[in-house]
Amino acid sequence: MLYQLKKCRDGSHSIYRTTVDITENNGVVSFKFEAENTTFFCPPQRL
């Protein structure tokens, strides 16, 4: 089923639309995120 993510801090509408579709078939679980508006920021590994 499809759900809309909300702002974590206060539950208000998220500024960038984000949905997650959650399914389970034959014991296999899937989370499909649709994330709008991003800079694709992926920093180098830091340990």
């Binding site: 089923m1 759900y3 993510l5 909300k6 702002k7 974590c8 801090r9 206060d10 539950g11 998220s14 500024i15 960038y16 984000t18 997650v20 959650i22 399914t23 389970e24 014991g27 296999v28 679980v29 899937s30 989370f31 499909k32 995120f33 649709e34 994330a35 709008e36 508006n37 991003t38 800079t39 694709f40 920021f41 992926c42 920093p43 590994q45 830091r46 340990l47």
Partner: protein, 148 residues
Amino acid sequence: MRRKTQRFSAPHSGYNILHSEGDACEVLIGSDPERKVYYEIEISPDNDLMLAEMVNHGFDENNEPILDIHFVEECFVKGEVVKRDNGYTATVTFPKEKILSGDGEVYFNAYRLETDGGEMDKHLFALNPTMLPKFRSPEYFVYLKDFI
């Protein structure tokens, strides 16, 4: 966040990279009735995966979670990312039996971190908002059976 990394192994390129300082989608999921032990699955727009068993010992004096992080060497999560002009689709798929961390009902929460190019904590979205600027709040986990 105080991290006690028990062991780190990166058997695959792009696997078990700590990328939570960038953009990512995350799922915390488990079945430990005390909600102390659960799995954390992260996927970045570059399709880097992180998979770890987390042991949450509560919060320190600064209200930061005290976590033991046990990276999972044998990745049982399949990740897929499709980038578009204005966003991306990230999918994580895994056998439910692999994330069982106890004999209770399976619970979870789902999140998106968006940094707008690297500004930490700028945007944090949640399926079940924690009403905090942080997302590691086990009391806000919801039951998987109610969302599928």
